[in-house]
């Protein structure tokens, strides 16, 4: 006779979670989170400045921003099934070489940047060139919240709720001429407030330049951002005005913009000028084309734990292929990386 002794760690059949419940645990979690969110609704509606996201450091919003915020179209776009990166990581782990090359440097040094008053120059092949004070520049647009994946070329990624408006709306507003084929963006050059620009060993030829093809710029996913996590942009994230192009590597999303030019020729962008074999003009997120120094097939979704590195597969066009793949039909993305 076989005598079966039960060990304390053994499970009995009655303890087994039904498969349907196991498979729906995320839905359950999501719905309970939703219930919590609804439960907390009255509080954040009442509290004027209280944040929609946990542990967001309050800023000192410029008045034009505070006036626009109530009319914001919240969650105009979201990311299915992925959680938003904690604010302290999105605001504490940055590549913004104008303030130093360490990830923590921008948060440490960007306080020196003065974002008010701020002027944006629109020039080149446009019907309505001009120099605008930021509050006038922003006047026509209603803010939208766009929750986007951000994939850095260094193989880490985050999910960030931006506040901004479609770049296409701005372009229509300034009336590009028939000659305009590219948009060129320029970051502030101010060594007095930007410590990284004072370095004698910098390989970057300041100011930082980025660019998009006009049809890329007109794609509804491309936005100009002025805020994140329900507040204005922290300086280290590119205050007061930055680009966000979610299907491209993060370095394309240029920060602290002072000049937007419509041009005929493809602009010489900063990273392309430093290392053309490593950083192309297009810089679309593409798991099948490696960076010469590392693979782009996977990414570390931050925050990544010490004992459980949060590594995941990188998606073509960072998961936005449906919206943007047609921009590149017929192009060899191995050559046009």
């Amino acid at each position: 006779m076989l005598i079966k002794l039960r060990r304390a760690s053994d499970c009995s059949a009655s303890e087994i979670t039904p498969e349907s419940l196991y498979l729906s645990r995320r839905t359950l979690l999501a719905s309970s989170l939703g219930a919590m969110a609804v439960g907390s609704l009255p509080r954040w509606v009442n509290a004027t400045e209280a944040s929609r996201y946990a542990a967001v450091e309050p800023g000192a919003a410029p008045s034009w921003f505070a006036q626009k915020l109530p009319a914001t179209q919240w969650q105009a776009m979201t990311v299915e099934g992925e959680s938003v990166t904690p604010f302290k990581d999105a605001a504490g782990y940055n590549n913004f070489y104008e303030f130093g090359t360490d990830k923590g440097d921008p948060a440490k040094n960007a306080g020196a940047l003065k974002t008010e008053p701020w002027t944006v120059v629109i020039d080149g092949e446009v019907g309505k060139p001009g120099r605008y004070a930021l509050e006038d520049f922003m006047q026509p647009y209603r803010l939208q919240e766009r929750i986007y994946r951000l994939r850095c070329v260094e193989a880490w990624s985050m999910v960030i709720p931006w506040l901004g408006f479609p770049l296409g709306d701005l372009l229509k507003h300034v009336e590009p001429t028939s000659k305009a084929r590219y948009v060129r963006f320029e970051t502030l050059h101010d060594p007095k407030s930007m410590s990284g620009q004072r370095s004698d060993f910098a390989l970057i030829n300041w100011p930082y330049i980025e660019g998009l093809r006009l049809d890329e710029a007109m794609n509804p996913l491309a936005i100009m951002a002025v805020g994140m996590y329900g507040r204005e942009l922290p300086n280290q994230n590119g205050a007061p005005l930055r680009l966000v192009v979610p299907w491209k590597y993060g370095f394309k999303s240029i920060k602290s913009i002072v000049r937007i030019s419509l041009v005929e020729q493809q602009p010489k962008t900063t990273w392309q000028a430093i290392a053309p074999d490593e950083y192309g003009f297009y810089a679309n997120v593409n798991p099948t084309v490696d960076h010469p120094r590392w693979t782009q097939a996977r990414e570390r979704r931050l925050p990544s734990g010490l004992f459980s590195p949060n590594v995941r597969e990188t998606l073509m066009f960072n998961g936005y292929a449906d919206q943007v793949a047609s921009l590149y039909s017929g192009m060899d993305l191995r050559k046009n990386y």
Partner: protein
């Protein structure tokens, strides 16, 4: 054993860092990507220890104090321990123990290849750092351990290829490394002034 306190002190001061860093990561004090920070710090620690190790002989010549050379082997072994941890952290945090990917990296990425060669050299030096090997290898031991200079060059190159936008930090390490190598050119080495103490017999024990 001479200088027991000094040796123990060096042991503790050098050995405590990896534990401190893991503790910081545990407290979430290393930011959202602690694995990458550990890889970088262990790599930089290796370079610093290599420079410190190479600094012992000139310091001993300069000061006449034999204590510098008494900790040289220990420091060299610490350098190896750091590079071993650097490698493990890279395999775990960056590659996620994907051995297939490691094969690709070893074939395609020059800075990984250079780093691996430097690691193998350090491994050879660590394995032959004992007295038995010194006796077995005789005069060849000293030649073999000049590989440390090559490792310095490879390490700096490995580091240079990781730097992306600002060469300031790298330049400081490269300048110190270059100075330490220049001090070994015989013409210059002979002219290192002795600041204190008389010449001691057998102070430098290869």
């Amino acid at each position: 054993m001479r200088y027991p306190l000094w040796r123990t002190g060096v042991f503790l001061v050098v050995g405590v860092w990896p534990f401190w860093w893991v503790y910081q990561a545990w407290l979430f004090a290393l930011g959202p990507d602690p694995g990458k920070v550990l890889v970088d710090r262990l790599g930089l620690g290796t370079l610093v220890l290599l420079l410190v190790t190479l600094g012992m002989t000139p310091l001993q010549r300069l000061s006449g104090w034999a204590g510098w050379v008494a900790v040289r082997r220990q420091l060299g072994l610490w350098c190896f321990a750091y590079v071993l941890l650097h490698l493990c952290a890279y395999l775990f945090f960056i590659l996620g123990f994907d051995w297939g990917q490691l094969g690709i990296e070893l074939r395609k990425r020059p800075y990984i290849i250079v780093g691996s060669v430097a690691f193998l050299c350090l491994l050879a030096l660590a394995l032959t750092s004992n007295r038995y090997s010194q006796r077995r290898l005789g005069a060849r031991w000293k030649k073999l351990h000049r590989l440390a200079y090559l490792v310095l060059g490879l390490g700096l190159l490995h580091f240079l290829w990781v730097v992306r936008a600002d060469l300031k930090e790298w330049s400081v390490y490269a300048a110190i490394g270059a100075m330490l190598l220049v001090l070994r050119i015989p013409v210059i080495a002979r002219r290192i002034p002795r600041l204190r103490g008389k010449k001691q017999l057998s102070a430098t024990k290869v």
